[in-house]
């Protein structure tokens, strides 16, 4: 291919991304490093503000627990899916993909119906006389956590099935024929071989969870903010544009750090 044609074909995309993604990013991030000259003052201020630190800690806590739970739910289930026959497998994959293609507002709304004051859980508990009055489940860290797990479990499942499909059934059968129990074969063979998939899935869930907006907005309310709801509030309700820029940069750094950590860990696995 001639070089001129090559540049002609990629130029529109490069230009559009440069003008409409990178330039605006630079524009919002530049002022966060300026305070009468170049300075990290705004970041020191962010990390010494108890209110912001609490939100940052809550974001990391919820994202970490959600990642862990998605792994615990996801690994056995993905293994189950990957060992089904063709028809059953594509059905179960469809069931896993469906929530992923369903709007996140709808998925958060589902949990409002379940956890709300007049929701399914309270209705059942009252009916069975286990409680005297409705308990508060919605607009708590707990509801945000459930919503986040619900949001990202399908992503974990699909990633894991993709990586477990590459494990030959012969390998586990060989282990079993040599006397390993199914559980032992799973722990010693399947789990180590699907570790790269677990890492990728975990990173997707974690980075998704620290940046998701809809779920904390609808299930957390104002008292249980996460970074994503904080950035929206700083920008749109309070017009604190540099403040929003600082949070944006913190989010980008966290995302990149999570991805780099995962790549580092995956590299280690490869060398073994």
């Amino acid at each position: 291919m001639r070089k001129s044609l090559y540049f002609l074909l990629i130029a529109p995309g490069v230009l559009l991304l440069a003008v409409f993604l990178f330039y605006p990013l630079v524009v919002i991030l530049m002022p966060t490093f300026q305070e009468r000259g170049l300075s990290l003052g705004r970041y020191f201020a962010f990390f010494s503000d108890a209110y912001y630190l609490k939100i940052l800690a809550r974001t990391i806590r919820i994202a970490s627990i959600a990642t862990l739970v998605c792994m615990i739910f996801g690994v056995p289930t993905a293994y189950f899916i990957s060992r089904r026959g063709k028809r059953m497998k594509s059905f179960l994959m469809a069931v896993s993909i469906f929530p992923l293609l369903t709007n996140s507002v709808v998925r958060a709304f589902a949990w409002i119906n379940i956890l709300g004051r007049n929701g399914v859980v309270n209705t059942l508990l009252l009916k069975w006389n286990l409680i005297d009055e409705p308990i508060t489940l919605l607009y708590t860290d707990f509801s945000v956590l459930i919503g986040t797990i619900y949001l990202f479990l399908p992503l974990m499942l699909i990633t894991l099935v993709g990586s477990m499909d590459n494990i030959e059934e012969d390998v586990t059968e060989a282990a079993e024929s040599l006397g390993a129990s199914r559980l032992l074969a799973f722990l010693k063979i399947v789990l180590p071989l699907s570790l790269p998939g677990i890492l990728v899935g975990g990173t997707l869930v974690f980075t998704g969870a620290i940046t998701a907006y809809t779920t904390p907005n609808l299930l957390g309310g104002n008292k249980n903010m996460l970074l994503a709801t904080l950035i929206y509030q700083r920008a749109m309700s309070l017009s604190d544009w540099t403040g929003a820029g600082v949070i944006a940069f913190v989010m980008i750094v966290m995302t990149v750090a999570a991805v780099k950590l995962m790549q580092g860990a995956a590299g280690r696995l490869d060398r073994r």
Binding site: L9, L25, L218
Partner: protein, 262 residues
């Protein structure tokens, strides 16, 4: 004994699938309840909430907007993305790896940050009309899907077929349209589906760029839920889920459901 362990695994997996499915079933059921607030189990049976959304001007206009937006943004991304993906897989320059990740970069920046940056640039600075702003934002959101999925199907394509077309007298443009495009058609369709769905469902970019009276369906729904709580939201959810099922069915019959897992 080994068999019993399998039952344990099956039982656990069924619980996980119930966790995924039951909340959506509950929504679907509440769309048919007669009470004016959402109750489950429902009392009575009615279709009035479906009638209500079709009569609601804000829901219908935001539905139309979301549909048009997803269509235009995806078309634009295909127009920009297919040539770029073609150039990247046809050549072996060292910079190609960097360019590929450059094209995928919108996925590495959190959506809410993209939304905020575009709000500053397009809305505050350029004072762009609302639809143009949304189109720009959604174009950025969907471009990576096109590059990735079309790129993957170009990797499978045997470029010697294209050279045969040249030697048989096709010029480069003809060969591309008559030979390359038909061979990557299933990739293009899959990319289109993924891009369309992701644009249609997008919240974090849209919510910064919507203007007075101009709002996408998900942002309209989200604001609606923040203030009121009646089964019309369930009814909309049912319609959206039905559309998704139909789309998935078409994809399964033509390309295989696995293509949506990319």
């Amino acid at each position: 004994m080994g068999k019993r362990k399998q039952y344990g695994l099956a039982f656990f997996s069924i619980l996980v699938f119930l966790f995924l499915a039951v909340p959506l079933f509950i929504i679907a059921a509440t769309a048919f309840g007669e009470a004016s607030t959402i109750r489950f189990p429902i009392k009575g049976f009615t279709l009035k909430w479906f009638a209500a959304i079709f009569a609601s001007r804000s829901f219908m206009s935001s539905l139309r907007l979301s549909f048009a937006l997803a269509l235009y943004a995806t078309a634009l991304a295909l127009l920009v993305g297919i040539p770029a993906a073609y150039a990247l897989s046809k050549t072996q320059f060292r910079r190609n790896a960097f360019l590929r990740s450059f094209f995928l970069s919108p996925t590495f920046v959190p959506g809410i940050v993209v939304g905020y940056a575009l709000f500053q640039f397009l809305v505050i600075k350029l004072r762009m009309p609302v639809f143009a702003g949304l189109l720009t934002g959604h174009f950025l959101v969907v471009l990576p899907y096109i590059i990735r999925v079309v790129g993957a199907s170009l990797e499978q394509f045997d470029f010697s077929i294209e050279e045969v077309a040249w030697s048989l007298g096709c010029d480069k443009g003809q060969a591309f349209v008559k030979v390359v495009l038909p061979n990557i058609a299933s990739g293009i369709v899959a990319a289109f589906m993924l891009a369309f769905i992701n644009s249609f469902n997008n919240i974090p970019v849209s919510m910064f760029l919507t203007g007075p009276g101009v709002s996408t369906l998900p942002t309209t729904l989200m604001t609606y839920i923040e203030y009121s709580y009646d089964p019309s939201v369930s009814a909309i959810s049912v319609l959206l889920m039905l559309t998704t099922i139909v789309l998935m069915f078409i994809v399964e019959k033509t390309l295989g459901i696995g293509t949506l897992a990319k």
